[in-house]
Symmetry: C2
Subunit: 141 residues, 2 copies
């Protein structure tokens, strides 16, 4: 069984939540996506494995997975929430505004700086969000 499903099962056992077929399919669907799908995309992909899954269950399961810390939500400004698996390697996103492509990146210096800034303001950083909207350097203006 995949690691992700195991993670879900652990969470369910610890929280008196039932582990259902639909839930397994939905986590796996997200785990198998290497883009940043929105709810409808997850729904469509999940239906390939179980055609009778409903959009309501997809929404409910995604909310649950978010609370479980298994997936995280992003909002890239197109009006819908997008999701991806939480992994150990934190990264931020660069959005190519011409193609919509999303490039993940990690910058050590940036991570340190964010903490430093929060600290300077008298806060302790809990979470953050950085998105760079950009165009390819080679692109003609």
């Amino acid at each position: 069984m995949s690691d992700i499903v195991k993670k879900l099962e652990d969470y369910c056992k610890n929280n008196n939540i039932k582990i259902t077929e639909q839930r397994k399919i939905i986590v796996e669907t997200i785990a198998d996506s290497n883009d940043h799908p929105d709810v409808e995309q997850v729904f469509i992909r999940a239906k390939e494995h179980d055609s009778k899954i409903s959009i309501a269950t997809t929404y409910r399961t995604i909310k649950l997975l978010e609370e479980a810390g298994i997936i995280e939500k992003h909002d890239f400004g197109d009006g819908k929430s997008r999701y991806e698996l939480v992994t150990d390697d934190h990264h931020d996103h660069l959005i190519d505004i011409q193609t919509g492509d999303i490039i993940e990146f990690y910058d050590e210096e940036l991570e340190k700086l964010k903490d430093k800034i929060a600290d300077k303001l008298g806060f302790k950083l809990v979470d953050h969000r950085l998105e760079l909207y950009a165009i390819k350097s080679s692109s003609k203006k």
Copy 2:
């Protein structure tokens, strides 16, 4: 007349758009807000000056002001768009997740770093968004 209204009038003249009483009231309302109001808050505050302004006009005017580059939109994750005047001094936002307070800050090092990161990835930075979600350092966990 306020600078902001003048800015709006310039934009209108250059774009064959009419400058109406409602539009003036709405820019001024936003200019007078030193928080980051959502559309409904702008609407309510605008109504104090003209009780018959409609929410539709508020939405339409806010969209126009955004296109004019007079105001900018933010999304702090509470499901509604928030707005503030565009000023020369760029800043990012730190959100106190306990109180909802929004602190504006500017960090030179960060600005440089963002450009550098985009450049390293082969992109030219067009826009960006950084939000820090944090709690007061003195707060007990």
